[in-house]
Amino acid sequence: MEGKSEIVEVKTFPFPAGFNWAVGPMMERFIRTLAGRKVLGARCPGCGYTYVPPRSRCGQCQAAIAEKDVVELSGKGTLISYTNAHVAPDGNGNLKDLEKPIVVGAVKLEDADSVLFMPVEGVKPQDLKIGLAVKVRWREETKGAVADICCFEPVG
């Protein structure tokens, strides 16, 4: 073995393991309600913290959150942080250049305490600022899927 590495690279071939994660009742209700262009949250009965999407246990005070605690939100919110993404994962462990940068924003919805991370469109990079008022832009046809929310865009 002199002068020869004892380690070899193992040749692999694509071997996809498929998953199908069940989302649970609260998230299901959130997703289905998107069809009617409505955004649901859940207000913790213990401490009032409001989650979007809704969930069944409060991370702040550990109270159980039930179906009755689900609230409808306006779909309007405020940009509290953002970034310009110039590259994206290519699915093979590397990064690829994007044709044009994507703005990813952290949006705090009106009457909610948790934050949604979504693309922000319809705004020039130089006009982006923390505190920008944004709202949901819906896909033309909504069918009760996560993709019904196209992105966020400036109000007005």
Binding site: E9, F15, F19
Partner: protein, 167 residues
């Protein structure tokens, strides 16, 4: 009366994939040595200087006394069955090999019985996992003497050992 049923509602699923072939695995060169031997009908094992065991195919380290197994030893292609299991007759649609039907692609005959075995080759101290060929399932027993069935054309690959058959 049978099994009790537990029916539950199903919520929406979010689909995703995990490509297990995307990992950069590393291996040792030991199999390279082993298959090079197979081309000359030689079964190579590694020898432990601590406990004198011979392991086939070779390993880097002894699992018991943790010494480097740098020594090599060629063991006999004859050996003894230490364990066996028996499949039911394999009919079309019964079994999958890498997602393919082994009957459809001609790996086994329709209705064939497959007998996976552990073999301890003479001069070795390990089990080698292979398959028993040319034998009646009724005759197979622990302690049965067998020899390697070599492929017609040896290529220096793991496939050179097709299995073992009774002596």
């Amino acid at each position: 009366m049978g099994y009790l049923k537990d029916e539950r509602p199903t919520t929406i699923g979010v689909e995703g994939g995990w490509n297990l072939g995307a990992y950069h695995y590393k291996g040792s060169r030991l199999l390279e040595e082993y298959v090079a031997g197979l081309k000359h009908k030689k079964l190579t094992g590694s020898f432990c200087p601590g406990c004198a065991r011979v392991i086939v195919p070779p390993r880097n380290l002894c699992g018991r006394c943790h010494r480097k197994m740098d020594g090599r030893k060629t063991v006999s292609d004859r050996g003894t069955i230490t364990c066996f299991v028996v499949s039911p007759p394999i009919y079309k649609g019964k079994l999958k090999v890498l997602g393919m039907d082994p009957v459809e692609i001609g790996l086994v005959k329709d209705g064939q019985v497959v007998i996976p075995v552990f073999v301890k080759f003479d001069g070795s101290d390990s089990n080698t996992d292979t398959v028993l060929l040319n034998a009646d399932p009724k005759d197979v027993h622990i302690g049965m003497r067998v020899k390697v069935v070599w492929a017609k054309e040896l290529q220096g690959s793991l496939a050179d050992v097709e299995g073992v058959e009774p002596i």
